[in-house]
Amino acid sequence: MNSQTYAVSRSSRAARVSAIIGTLVLIILVAAPWWAGRADMRLMGELFLYLALASLWNLMAGYAGLVSVGQQAFVGFGGYMLFALTMFAGLHPITAIAAAGLLGALISVPVAVLIFRLRGAYFAIGTWVIAEVFRLGFAQVSALGGGSGSSLPVAIVKSLASKRAMRESISYWLALSAAVLVVASVYFFLRSRKGLALTAIRDNETAADSLGIDIWRTKFVVYVVTSAFTAMIGALIFLQKLRISPDAAFSVNDWTAFVIFIVVIGGIGTIEGPIIGTFVFFLLRETLADLGTVYLIVLGVVAILVMLKAPKGLWGLFRARFDVQIFPLGYRVSKRDPS
């Protein structure tokens, strides 16, 4: 009857197999500068950054229930911090990316205290308003080009690497590491004790509260950490673009609408969902990009269909048929052999 009779495991065969495949894929991806063309590397770099943004938004909205439509505030803030810190403080771009993350965490604290007073739809609208305030604020800074924006000076670009091919490789590797860092952080966080608390909040706040989970503090920590990472990703995005303007930096379409699309069609509240969603999004984008407006209409139709027919996303559809977990977060109890 006791623990000698039962064993608890946190892994599975599927997870071990996918860990091996994942490692192999990662090695191939790291070597991309030796086998991929410039355009492909650019595309993959962009894909990795969207994967990171989607994983972060999923942690915040899918687990902590903080449905923000204003994460562009932190993408843009991170981008502007990269420009400001390299141009005025003379920081190396990579140091500036890390610093942008720290500053993103700092600025997210008062934002959280303010918008956590709002619930549901009011919270969502509140986050959007904050992002607009950020956009209007940065448009006032004439040293950063005001409303028309500015370009990253050549000297700073060259400080990353003097040769263009090397710069492109570094930029690609940074994007790849960002995606791996974010997905791995989300995975290890969700497996931890605090992650278990967050998953409980996802499922039932009333029960979580009465089982000793401090809901406000857990959500606050998630909000600050995702905002910090989002600011770092923002810095990376604009290091690739080399040019920033308030409208591009704080675009609700680029940094929130597409990200929500990715998470929703992939499967909200799962680690696998944003990964699948990112691939589907880029597949659609690359095949339909020439069609102009039709592309956006198709995205909208796909989103509506998935929400109606598979509210748990493509990964949820798959999970309903097969009991497979690529990222094993849970526990499996099995009876030990009596021998």
Partner: protein, 242 residues
């Protein structure tokens, strides 16, 4: 015996509806207290006030000698108050075992092997161990009620509040539930139990309180209370002096 829970002039009203009307009573450590009262009398609200899900309009709650009136539900859980919800509140996307692990790791503060061992022991006790890997969302109502009890026990509580967990059971199932609760009680846990299945309640508790319209209308030994005209009127719907 020392006092574990003390309610002083507790009052809570939602507009014109008073769910707790000047309630005062004490529960001694190790006691098993039964709560009776008609539907809507304020029994569950009383639990919500004790666990911190509701905040009183006035009055004071003491637990183990400390004033906990202003404490959050989470803090009260850490202090040793656990409850089962009348309407089960499972973490639907997680398995039964993971539901138990939430209680063991977040409230009892256990780690790794210790938490896992506790969950397996409790799941075995509540006869849910065979369902350990099943998502809680797919459990039957009966199993959900057992999960409520499991989670409450995995917090290693000093005070356990049970809210109607015996309804809808067969005679054999009811007997095994009674045995489980007796076991928990004899291990030293203080119990307050709201239950409409009166014979189950009476086989465990050593004191009864009766609540009606948020007021405490009786408090004492089970037998005289069950025979009192007020209780008969509530449960049988007959006028005592008719």
């Amino acid at each position: 015996m020392t006092t574990i829970l003390k309610l002083q002039n507790l009052r809570k009203a939602f507009g014109a509806v008073t769910v707790a009307d000047d309630q005062s009573y004490e529960v001694r450590r190790g006691e098993a207290l039964g709560v009776l009262g008609p539907n809507g009398a304020g029994k569950t609200s009383m639990f919500n006030l004790i666990t911190g899900t509701l905040k009183p309009n006035s009055g004071r709650i003491e637990f183990a000698g400390k004033d906990i009136t202003g404490w959050s539900a989470a803090r009260r859980s850490h202090a040793g108050i656990a409850r089962s919800f009348q309407v089960p509140q499972p973490f639907s996307g997680m398995t039964v075992f993971e539901n138990a692990m939430i209680a063991a790791t977040q409230s009892a503060g256990l780690n790794g092997q210790k938490a896992e061992d506790l969950c397996i022991r409790v799941l075995d006790q509540t006869e849910l161990i065979a369902k350990a890997n099943v998502p809680a969302g797919s459990l039957t109502l009966l199993e959900r009620k057992r999960l409520e009890l499991t989670r409450a026990l995995c917090t290693e509580p000093e005070l356990l509040l049970l809210d109607e967990i015996a309804g809808g059971l067969t005679e054999a199932e009811c007997q095994s539930l009674i045995n489980t609760i007796k076991e928990i009680h004899s291990s030293g846990t203080t119990i307050i139990w709201i239950e409409h299945v009166v014979h189950a309640l009476l086989s465990v508790v050593d004191r009864l309180i009766v609540v009606d319209f948020g007021k405490l209308i009786a408090d004492g030994k089970p037998k005289p209370i069950m025979n009192s005209p007020q209780v008969k009127e509530i449960y049988l719907g007959i006028e005592a002096d008719a």
